[in-house]
């Protein structure tokens, strides 16, 4: 499949219709998704109806930035009239009556919704194995996970089942699966894209972003989605600098910070070598490498695993069986709640609700939640100091390449996957993962993709995507096709 930019160009030029792109994409999805399992719901009728509208608009002389571009939507984003499950039993049959702002902006720009993608339940997980509704396979090695929580979206984009896949990132849920699936996964500054219609996991961290095969496509999607939404008071009211026109081909004059505390040697010689090469490539492009220090970053994981569960324990309270979703009867209302939530939520969701409830309860609130908020502030301060001496920060996006199903059985080793992405989330910074090569995992046969994480100061999306584009164009790590596409 061509990139989103190429498709939009052709459809706008009327050399191809949105209907043709859509039909071809749906046929490809029907052919390969049995192996991949990217989609929980395929939207044939909706896609064709939208394609007809797009063709009509293009015929009427409109130029649409995403004309005819096949879009995969993570199943925690509402799309009116479609099942929106969050990968959970509790919402398995819930049909959203309204559309998320970000999704609406994609549709208005001419995007074609191909389907709703699998995900870790309520976006909690780093492998997509926590979905209660399906298994998604990594298109580069079907025995491996696609990464989480936006695993379905990552698999859809990697297997060419969509040109742009929407994901949501709370602690790394776009960047980590992007790394596992050789994609560009972009998490903008917190508040840049409206969360209205995104089913909340942790409100102060959640951010929608695109997973694409090129930086240009990420920029295209971001430019369409970003901007103040009156329905989300945390969305930022500040002009959005277009990023698609800010893409560059060198890094001259860019100071790239390498974090002293992020020691890659502990990841093994292959991975250490891979990142050494990535940093050297940045330098070859004209970047100046500088060492920066994030002394509190090591508390990121602990901080995150107090704040995110605290917020989720409250955000997920509404799934109580009273108004929508699953209901399991009980003798009284209290027992109905208990039975519903016991049956409706999976183990990881329950674990985090319990941690969060504990962290917020009186007597522990100051010791855990308040302390975590303080640590969060310190982490943000660390970044501010670091960005005084550099323009971007480079690091691994994930601690390892995609692993085999059931390889990480204890929660802590799974949480460690997001070690490099969580600090940026806590600080609300824009960050992305861009393909940076392959390593063959221990016990594996095929080389698996790895991602380079680049992070920028708040609102510096244009600078970030511009630099990522230069790196991508110079290195071409994304060229290798996933097995399932062939």
């Amino acid at each position: 499949m061509r990139t989103a930019a190429q498709i939009a160009r052709d459809v706008n030029a009327k050399t191809e219709s949105a209907r043709e792109v859509t039909d071809a994409t749906l046929a490809h999805v029907d052919a390969v998704d049995g192996q991949i399992g990217a989609y929980l719901t395929r939207l044939h009728d909706l896609a064709r109806a939208q394609a007809a509208r797009v063709d009509e608009r293009v015929r009427n002389g409109e130029r649409l930035p995403l004309a005819g571009v096949p879009i995969a939507v993570k199943d925690n984003m509402c799309l009116a009239g479609t099942r929106t499950t969050c990968g959970s039993k509790i919402l398995e049959h819930w049909v959203a009556p309204y559309t998320a702002t970000a999704v609406q902006r994609i549709l208005d720009a001419g995007g074609i919704p191909i389907g709703k993608t699998n995900m870790d339940e309520f976006a909690m997980g780093s492998s997509c194995e926590n979905s209660a509704l399906g298994t998604t396979h990594n298109p580069f090695d079907l025995t491996r996970v696609p990464g989480g929580s936006s695993g379905g979206s990552a698999a859809a984009a990697a297997a060419h089942e969509a040109a742009i896949a929407l994901g949501s990132d709370t602690g790394g849920s776009i960047r980590e699966p992007a790394a596992f699936c050789n994609l560009v996964g972009f998490k903008p500054t917190y508040g840049r894209i409206s969360r209205y219609g995104l089913i909340a996991f942790a409100s102060s961290l959640d951010q929608i972003g695109p997973l694409t095969r090129t930086v240009e496509d990420a920029a295209l999607a971001y430019d369409v989605m970003a901007g103040k939404d009156p329905m989300d008071s945390t969305s930022i009211d500040r002009a959005v600098e277009p990023t698609a026109t800010a893409l560059r081909t060198d890094l001259a004059g860019v100071r790239v910070g390498i974090v002293k505390e992020f020691v890659t040697e502990t990841l093994g010689p292959d991975i250490a070598a891979l990142y050494a090469r990535a940093y050297a490539d940045l330098e070859k492009l004209g970047a100046q490498l500088v060492e920066v220090s994030l002394p509190t970053a090591e508390y990121g994981l602990a901080t995150y695993y107090l704040i995110a569960p605290a917020e989720c324990s409250s955000n997920l309270a509404r799934f109580d069986g009273v108004r929508y979703g699953l209901r399991v009867d009980g003798a009284d209302v209290g027992q109905m709640y208990e039975a519903t939530r016991a049956a409706g939520f999976g183990a990881e969701v329950k674990r985090r609700i319990l941690i969060g409830t504990y962290a917020l309860s009186s007597g522990y609130y100051d010791a855990y939640y308040v302390k975590a908020q303080k640590a969060r502030t310190l982490i943000g301060d660390d970044f501010k100091r670091a960005f005084a001496t550099c323009d971007l920060i480079a690091s691994p996006a994930a601690s390892s390449p995609a692993f085999a199903f059931n390889a990480k059985s204890d929660p802590y080793s799974m949480y460690m996957m997001d070690y490099y992405t969580i600090p940026m989330s806590l600080a609300g910074l824009p960050a992305l993962s861009v393909p940076c090569g392959y390593v063959t995992p221990a016990g594996g046969e095929a080389p698996m993709p790895m991602g380079l994480q680049l992070a920028a100061p708040l609102f510096e999306e244009a600078k970030l995507l511009g630099a990522a584009h230069a790196y991508e164009q110079a290195t071409q790590h994304a060229l290798k096709a996933a097995v399932a596409v062939a």
Binding site: S313, D320, S361
Partner: protein, 484 residues
């Protein structure tokens, strides 16, 4: 005389009068078909987010400033987490440690005009929940019901919660305090305060202690009071219960008690075994509120004269009785009318007499409000001036007022047109007197035979003969002079 005094604190919830709900664009209106005034936000559908209603925040500032509270520059919303079927999100957006107002004093008056004070702890902003109806049990109670229906029309309606310090000492004071809140909120336009529509709901914390003691006794919290009258009765009943209990050697248990309107008593309500842990924390969906000082100052400068100040002006200033002053305070358009009459006539006592006397009577008889009648304040002031200058007497004034009410024109015009001005011309009055004496020979004879009380009758005849315009004092003097 009881050896105990009551210590009462009141928490009340008042619905704010806003066009839309607290966090969404649904209309904030009472009633309607169940679940017709709802949207993804107030139903807490997955993914929906709250957006703060600016009008509600400004109302809070108005209410706070009216009671002299501090309006902090920085305030925030918190989530109060607990499961309840009426509550769509299973948490309520409220304010915990940084409310929109802190402190303040409610000054109020009692029926006899005594002024009292009750400190406010705070007024904070929160959202209302939905309303459950239990079906199948016959009596609307949950016990035995087959199913429950929930109407979320009210979910998300903005509420201010006013929390008082325990400064109230009697049921009368409690009602005076609530009246003051109600009057102020209505006058500010921040709420309609209709108890029957649930727009004011209150709980009272009641304890008693020996007169002179400084420590508080054990308190009970009374709920389910649905009118000021029931607040009064419930508090009296609870004070009596606690007094009897202590006097008979018992102890008051801290508990929540319901008020039974029919029985006229409070009763223990089933309380949760454990204290609630609401797990308050700052709502991450809402940014903190940073109020611009200039906005607060502007609202402060635009506050109208508040009920207590008005009461004091009327009662202490103009010398109205507490009940007259209250009557005016509680009828803002009438008070405005009254003030205009006083301003134009410079005569408070006469203004009071006319407005609360004859004009009120006419208003009652015709069903037309005084301020909507043809009698403009300036015209009434003109009438008062005619009386004060003794141009007309009070009898003519009454007649004139009725004619003005019917729209016959200004009193001066009528008086001039019909020559109704009181005459003090001795020659003219002497002619009237002579004519009356000539026509009433029997009365004159009676007077001369010693029945001097016939003088009143003769005076009346002269006044009638003059069509009311003769100066009654001169008539009396001339009559005596001619008869004696």
């Amino acid at each position: 005389m009881s050896a105990f005094e009551a210590v009462i604190g009141i928490e009340c919830h008042v619905e704010l009068k806003t066009k839309s709900k607290m966090f969404c664009a649904c209309p904030n209106e009472f009633g309607g078909e169940p679940n017709t005034k709802v949207c993804p936000v107030c139903l807490a559908l997955p993914g929906a987010l709250p957006v703060v209603n600016r009008e509600a925040v400004l109302h809070m500032v108005r209410a706070g400033l009216a009671f002299g509270t501090e309006i902090p520059a920085f305030s925030k919303f918190d989530r109060k987490n607990y499961f309840y079927p009426d509550m769509p999100k299973d948490y309520q957006i409220s304010q915990f440690d940084m409310p929109l107002t802190q402190g303040g004093v409610v000054r109020y008056w009692l029926e006899d005009g005594t002024i009292k004070e009750c400190r406010l702890t705070r007024i904070h902003l929160e959202e209302d929940t939905g309303k459950s109806t239990h079906a199948g049990s016959g009596d609307g109670r949950i016990a035995g019901s087959s199913h429950s229906l929930i109407d979320f029309n009210r979910a998300g309606v903005p509420l201010m919660e006013c929390v008082s310090e325990p400064d109230i000492r009697s049921a009368d004071e409690a009602v005076g305090y609530l009246d003051a809140l109600k009057r102020t909120f209505v006058q500010l336009g921040v709420s309609d305060v209709k108890m029957e529509e649930g727009s004011l709901r209150c709980d009272a914390n009641v304890s008693i202690r020996p007169v002179g003691a400084s420590e508080y006794g054990t308190k009970t919290e009374i709920k389910n009071m649905n009118s000021f009258r029931s607040v009064h009765r419930a508090i009296e009943s609870e004070i009596a219960r606690q007094t009897a209990l202590i006097e008979s050697g018992g102890r008051v248990t801290q508990e929540t008690r319901g008020w039974d309107e029919g029985a006229g008593t409070t009763h223990p309500m089933r309380s949760k075994e454990e204290a609630h842990d609401y797990r308050y924390f700052p709502d991450p969906d809402l940014l903190p509120i940073e109020l611009d000082r200039s906005v607060v100052d502007r609202i402060g400068s635009e506050l109208p004269e508040l009920p207590l100040a008005r009461f004091e002006r009327y009662h202490g200033g103009f010398g109205l009785t507490p009940s007259q002053a209250t009557q005016l305070v509680d009828n803002a358009p009438l008070a405005t009318y009254f003030d205009a009459v006083v301003a134009a006539s410079k005569h408070a006592a006469q203004s009071t007499n006319f407005v609360l006397g004859d004009l009120s009577r006419l208003a009652n008889e015709t069903g037309v409000a005084i301020y909507e009648s043809p009698v403009a304040p300036a015209a009434l002031a003109e009438l008062i001036a005619l009386v004060e200058s003794q141009t007309i007497n009070s009898k003519i004034a009454k007649d004139l007022l009725e004619r003005m009410w019917k729209g016959e024109g200004s009193p001066k015009t009528i008086v001039e047109r019909e020559g109704l001005a009181q005459t003090s011309d001795a020659g003219e009055i002497a002619t009237f007197v002579d004519e009356v004496l000539a026509a009433n020979e029997k009365a004159v004879a009676d007077y001369k035979s010693g029945k001097t009380n016939i003088l009143g009758f003769l005076t009346g005849q002269v006044m009638k003969h003059s069509r009311g315009k003769a100066n009654p004092a001169l008539v009396g003097a001339l009559l005596k002079q001619k008869l004696d």
